[in-house]
């Protein structure tokens, strides 16, 4: 335990300050199916530092989960295919590593929490076995040691009576408790980075907050990087440091979390924020962005959002907007703020 901890701490110290833990560069992923080629991810760039939380926001089909699965190396290939890009973990391109090298990173250095804990946990194995497996496979622990550590982990994610419940099966736990077990499993080997793919979507609202708080607390405690994938703006606000909004396989806006909420620089983000139900607008009709998410087999020309955008111009229909650095009215750069909109100035300042 201590040796593993020392190792990770030592590795964290070696990290050059300012170098992100994980950096995704110009990632392109497509799916070849009978219906054609679906371009799921089209040049995504983002980075996470140790101790930082990046929220990736987007509708279903925006490519947020595909990007995460590509980082994890659990994308189904075929039909999935990485056509370009790099995924640098501590400066090393994971896409160039051997399967065995990548396997050793999975679970130990980068761990993942999935949306539906009931289907993501193996129904026929006890939770103790599934947690203990991390130690047995990655650290060569004995069955007995693994079980003791599993109980310890269950305690840490505050599962009551962990020692009595270690031999229980996933279906014997409540939804919130199951998600805690998923978190415990991801946390087991104190990874440098956790990717949480919609970790609270399948849970009741009251339980959502508890699970999110637990995740945020543990992340701070272990100084891990966290990529939080969600379509729920409400989940993000309290825990994220920065947000990347994705649409049709591209990042359309990035910003520190509170700035994005206060002053979005992309019409899509603006629409998302407007569509959150608010108590002070009781009785009014809930706003919805018109139209449907784009068909990935046939992404619209120009800005992919243009058919649904209220302010789209001819330029938007022909030219794909670059990810512009966002500036304030005086032209001073706003740190960490970028927008892929031809009309970002009007959107932000107008």
């Amino acid at each position: 335990m201590t040796t593993a901890l020392e190792k990770t701490t030592a590795a964290k110290d070696r990290l050059v300050p300012g170098t992100p833990l994980l950096e995704v560069r110009d990632l392109h992923v497509e799916f070849k199916t009978r219906d054609g080629v679906a371009k799921a991810v089209n040049g995504v760039n983002y980075s996470v530092a140790a101790g930082e939380t990046l929220a990736v926001l987007g509708e279903s089909g925006s490519g947020k989960s595909v990007t995460a699965q590509t980082i994890m190396g659990i994308l189904d290939m075929p039909p999935g295919r990485v056509t370009a890009g790099e995924i640098l973990f501590r400066g090393q391109d994971m896409l160039k590593m051997s399967n065995e090298q990548r396997r050793k990173i999975r679970g130990r250095k980068i761990a993942m929490i999935f949306q539906d804990a009931l289907s993501s946990l193996n129904p026929v194995l006890s939770v103790g076995y599934q947690l203990g497996e991390m130690f047995r496979v990655h650290e060569g622990a004995s069955r007995k040691e693994a079980k003791a550590k599993a109980i310890e982990l269950m305690d840490r994610v505050r599962i009551p009576a962990a020692a009595q419940r270690v031999n229980d099966f996933p279906h014997q736990f409540s939804g919130g408790m199951r998600q805690r077990i998923m978190i415990a499993m991801a946390l087991a080997l104190e990874p440098d980075l956790i990717i949480a793919d919609e970790p609270t979507t399948a849970l009741d609202v009251t339980v959502q907050a508890q699970v999110m708080d637990l995740l945020a607390e543990l992340q701070a405690e272990y100084h891990m990087g966290l990529i939080l994938i969600t379509h729920d703006l409400g989940v993000v606000a309290d825990v994220a440091d920065k947000i990347a909004v994705m649409y049709a396989g591209r990042i359309v806006e990035t910003a520190p979390v509170h700035e994005l909420y206060a002053r979005p620089a992309h019409p899509y983000t603006k629409g998302l924020l407007r569509s959150i139900p608010r108590l002070d607008q009781k009785g009014e009709e809930l706003y919805a962005i018109k139209g449907l998410p784009p068909n990935l087999y046939k992404v619209p020309a120009g800005c992919a959002f243009n058919p649904r955008c209220d302010v789209a111009t001819d330029l938007c229909r022909t030219e794909i907007p670059a990810l512009h650095q966002v500036t304030d009215r005086d032209g001073a750069e706003l740190a960490g703020r970028k927008s892929a909109c031809h009309l970002w100035k009007e959107t932000l300042h107008g």
Partner: protein, 308 residues
């Protein structure tokens, strides 16, 4: 769990009594007089015939015969054959042979069937999978006698690896070929069932989790995939084991195996009521035990199933 087993054991009593009753009356209703048949084409001497019927207990009403039979059965007396052998001895000779043959066939279909199914399921649509599908289709379609004769011809007559028929029915080595023939149809079902189950579970969310945990492929497949995929296969295998234990009239006939199938066949031919019902009694017990074991195994494999 204990209560479940107790209830199942109690349920066995009516099933057991019912089957024995039905089989008793069915054998007694076969056309022909088994006693007169002892004299062949010659007319029986009425005095001798009456004496014989009396010795076999056939001179009382059928209802009386039934009560006598059930009474004997409950005290462990299975009766005698027409020739005066104890039925229990006939069973004692045939059953060990069938158990050996059945276990060999069972191991064969389990090991080979699951292996083929596993690799087929993992490589769905590839060459191995396609050839496995053709092979299993062939096995399912070819009648057992044809398959038996092909095997005899190839392995005994052409290759001379073995003798065409079994000389010593207790010799495991000689039983291998009949066991392969006997297990081949079930093997095809096991392989297809495993394949479907593997292919389906391969897409399950927990498989993605297992990979994301950094488990080696061997563990992902061996522990996570196989455990889940075996549940439907075990159900099939359990009932099949019961069926195999019932003897295989055709296979045993082709290979001259002196097992239950063979003994039953002869007993039915000779209208040996006591022997036929004696075998059925034992087979019903074996079948009931096999299905109970399957149900218990099912709960072990799938913890979501709990018996109370």
């Amino acid at each position: 769990m204990g209560r479940f087993v107790a209830r199942r054991l109690l349920q066995m009593i009516p099933v057991f009594l019912g089957t024995v009753t039905i089989i008793f009356f069915m054998t007694r209703m076969l056309p022909g007089d088994p006693a007169a048949a002892m004299w062949g084409d010659k007319a029986a001497d009425p005095a001798q015939l009456a004496a014989f019927k009396h010795r076999m207990g056939l001179d009382v009403s059928i209802g009386r015969q039934y009560l006598n039979y059930m009474g004997d059965l409950l005290t462990g007396n299975f009766g005698e054959t027409m020739a005066g052998r104890k039925v229990i001895d006939v069973i004692g000779e045939a059953l060990p042979v069938t158990v050996r043959l059945a276990l060999l066939a069972f191991v064969f279909e389990l090991v080979v069937g699951v292996t083929i199914g596993l690799f087929s399921g993992l490589r769905r649509g590839k060459a191995f999978d396609k050839s496995a599908l053709v092979l299993t289709l062939l096995l399912i379609s070819i009648p057992v006698p044809v398959l038996g004769f092909i095997f005899q011809n190839v392995f005994a007559i052409q290759l001379k690896w073995i003798t065409p028929t079994v000389q010593d029915s207790m010799n495991l080595g000689q039983l291998i070929l009949p066991a392969v023939v006997l297990g081949s149809i079930s093997l095809a079902y096991v392989a297809r069932l495993t394949r479907t189950s593997i292919a389906e579970n391969l897409k399950a969310d927990y498989m993605r989790t297992a990979v994301a945990k950094g488990l080696p492929r061997r563990k992902v497949i061996g522990t996570h995939l196989l455990r889940n995929s075996m549940i439907p296969v075990v159900t099939f295998l359990g009932t099949d084991l019961g069926a195999l234990m019932g003897g295989a009239i055709v296979t045993e006939g082709i290979f001259n195996v002196k097992g239950v199938g063979n003994a039953l066949y002869h007993a039915i031919n000779l209208n040996e009521g006591a022997t036929v019902s004696g075998f059925v009694v034992v087979l019903v017990l074996v079948y009931l035990a096999a299905s109970l074991i399957v149900d218990l195994l099912y709960a072990v494999l799938d913890p979501r199933i709990r018996y109370a």
